[in-house]
């Protein structure tokens, strides 16, 4: 990761997520930026979700589809007026399909400073089973 040391960050618009279904509440939906990497033991997913509190984050696993759904409450007070507005706030939503190698019962999630760290341990390699052919 040495190449990031001196790189200057570029401003980027948030990616708007294709809404999965009609929203009941109006407002933009964004797809969080994620890093996914894999080691021998587990797959780790990191997602940037600034403004999401742990209570407002729903991680749902249903039929191998992992859904991240983070609600954001605007930090702005009611009597504040805009001076400059460069980014929008809204909920985060993104779905991933998990493969069979993930031990779905042991997934761990941790949210700190707006970054979600999701650990998806791999299933222990199934012991190879040899089927003996019987001859008569």
């Amino acid at each position: 990761m040495t190449e990031t040391e001196s790189k200057a960050l570029q401003a980027k618009d948030k990616t708007e997520a294709g809404a999965p279904a009609e929203q009941t509440r109006p407002g933009p939906v964004f797809a969080p930026a994620v890093d996914i990497f894999e080691t021998d033991k587990e797959i780790t997913l990191l997602a940037d979700m600034p403004g999401v509190k742990s209570g407002d984050l729903i991680i749902d696993l249903h039929e191998n589809v992992l859904t991240l759904d983070g609600g954001v409450i605007s930090p702005e007070g009611a009597d504040e007026a805009d001076v400059l507005r460069e980014y929008r706030t809204g909920k985060y939503y993104r779905q991933f399909t998990l493969s069979e190698i993930v031990d779905q019962a042991k997934i761990k999630a941790e949210l700190q400073d707006g970054v979600l760290r999701l650990k998806l341990p791999k299933v222990k390699a199934a012991a190879p089973r040899r089927i003996t052919v019987q001859s008569r």
Partner: protein, 153 residues
């Protein structure tokens, strides 16, 4: 008498592409939509990281920026007169060297941004805090810059 408006591209013989006019109208509507409702980014944004939202109430300005994963210690914030400067470095934690990446969308790097505010601020009372990856800096307006009600005698 029945008058039919005939767009000039309309084929006079045969139906080449009867929906062309509709398509054109749709394109115009889309343009109008983006111009009207496609909010902030683009024209007003300076294009410098981090993107900021600035709001004000009667007493203060509030500068906010989304900096996920950053702690207050990683940031250098300084205030002078009517401008605020925020700089820092977003470091992405070095993960296991053997890790194989499937996706890498998050970015790390340095940044430095200065924003000018419309009025002078009380530099002694500026407060900054980072919660859930969102930086909020509260900058109280200088006494001289606050709106004052003048009693009519």
């Amino acid at each position: 008498m029945l008058l039919l408006r005939r767009p000039y591209h309309w084929p006079t013989s045969g139906w080449g592409y009867p929906f062309e006019e509709l398509e054109r109208v749709k394109r115009q509507m889309d343009l109008m939509n983006t111009a009207l409702f496609r909010a902030p980014s683009g024209e007003t944004a300076a294009g410098v990281f981090p993107m900021m939202n600035v709001t004000e109430d009667r007493d203060s300005y509030y500068v906010r920026a989304e900096l996920p994963g950053m702690k207050a210690d990683d940031l250098a914030i300084s205030v002078t007169g009517n401008s605020i400067s925020i700089s820092g470095e977003r470091k992405l934690a070095v993960e296991d060297a053997k890790a194989q990446y499937h996706r890498r969308e998050r970015e790390g790097g340095t940044f430095n941004r200065i924003v000018s505010l419309p009025t002078q601020i009380d530099t002694g009372k500026v407060e900054a805090h980072c919660t859930d990856g969102v930086l909020t800096v509260a900058l109280p307006k200088a006494e001289a810059a606050k709106p004052r009600r003048i009693a009519v005698k």
